[in-house]
């Protein structure tokens, strides 16, 4: 049993070497998956900001109308031009903005957060890890 585990560990270790090389090469050549330092969890929102944040829903209007985080403002890529003024009315420079979309692999929340940073020069913008899935699942 111990022998099996020891050999298993060695195999895991051997595999790690080419994986690290491969990973390093790919990170260098392809910055498609940058580390997401702006992600926060629901726990972080609760602990760091006592839930005092401006929630932004980056999903479709249909999904927003069906259900959204209480007091969340809709701002999606499809209707940015017509919705951004309303978002800015609710926005407060001292209150963190947390953008969410569907769940694990959607990129709408990051796109909206990035547009807030680059166009509006708003700095305190974060993305909810897990999105609506994380909220409705809690």
């Amino acid at each position: 049993m111990i022998r099996a585990l020891r050999q298993f560990a060695i195999v895991l270790g051997i595999a790690l070497l080419p994986a690290l090389v491969s990973g390093a090469i790919q990170l260098k050549w392809n910055a498609e998956v940058p580390p997401k330092k702006d992600e926060v969890t629901i726990a972080m929102v609760h602990n760091n900001w006592s839930d005092h944040v401006l929630w932004v829903d980056a999903r479709t209007r249909a999904k927003y109308d069906h259900a959204h985080i209480p007091d969340a403002v809709l701002l999606n890529e499809d209707e940015w031009n017509s919705l951004v003024a309303k978002f800015l009315d609710a926005w407060d420079p001292d209150v963190p903005v947390v953008v969410y979309c569907d769940g694990g692999s959607c990129d709408a929340s990051h796109a909206i957060a990035e547009r807030m940073r680059s166009e509006l020069k708003i700095e305190k913008v974060y993305v909810l890890k897990g999105g609506w899935g994380a909220w409705s699942g809690k």
Binding site: R3, A4, L5, R6, Q7, F8, A9, I10, V11, L12, I14, A15, L16, P18, A19, S22, G23, Q26, N30, E32, V33, P35, K36, D102, G103, G104, S105, K129, G130, G133
Partner: protein, 159 residues
């Protein structure tokens, strides 16, 4: 004697499957590019990892583990560990597919137009179950071989 040949055939089969699977997840030969981004996407679609970024790490490491395990299945000193690795991976794959099936992972945006969409989960599960069975056979064989080779008070001889 027949048992030995059968296990050797299974060992070759399991090794070939994992070697092929691993290589295919490392390099996309058809387009001459890395297969990692696509594999990352595939992992994320299982919606199993707590953090979607972990998918990248897994997408880079897992294929190399498959290749290493496949090759070390034939290295006497590491064959037991390799058999453990392929067994563990088969169990994990089976679990992941089963979990995705149970959650009925859907196509959220109705991209198929009016048509409904279905994955052939049963055939996927069956294929991985067979792989697991073959891996377990090799693992048990290796474990018994190891135990038989270890000197014991009773003085057992390798069968």
């Amino acid at each position: 004697m027949v048992g030995k040949i059968a296990v050797l055939l299974l060992r070759v089969a399991v090794s070939a499957v994992f070697l092929y699977a691993g290589v295919m997840k490392i390099w996309d030969f058809r387009h001459g590019q890395s297969a990692t981004p696509d594999f990352t996407l595939a992992i994320q679609h299982f919606e199993i990892l707590p953090n979607p970024d972990l998918a990248v790490l897994l997408a880079v490491y897992l294929p190399w583990l498959e290749v290493t395990a496949a090759l070390t299945l034939f290295v006497k000193r590491l064959a037991l560990g390799a058999a453990t690795a392929v067994t563990v991976m088969s169990v994990v794959f089976l679990g992941a597919i089963g979990s995705a099936w149970a959650r009925g992972l859907d196509i959220r945006c109705g991209c198929f137009g009016k048509d409904e969409v279905s994955l052939s989960y049963p055939s996927l599960m069956l294929r991985d179950a067979l792989l697991l069975a073959a891996a377990v056979v090799v693992l048990v064989w290796e474990a018994r071989r190891k135990r038989a080779l270890t000197p014991s008070p009773e003085g057992e001889s390798p069968s």
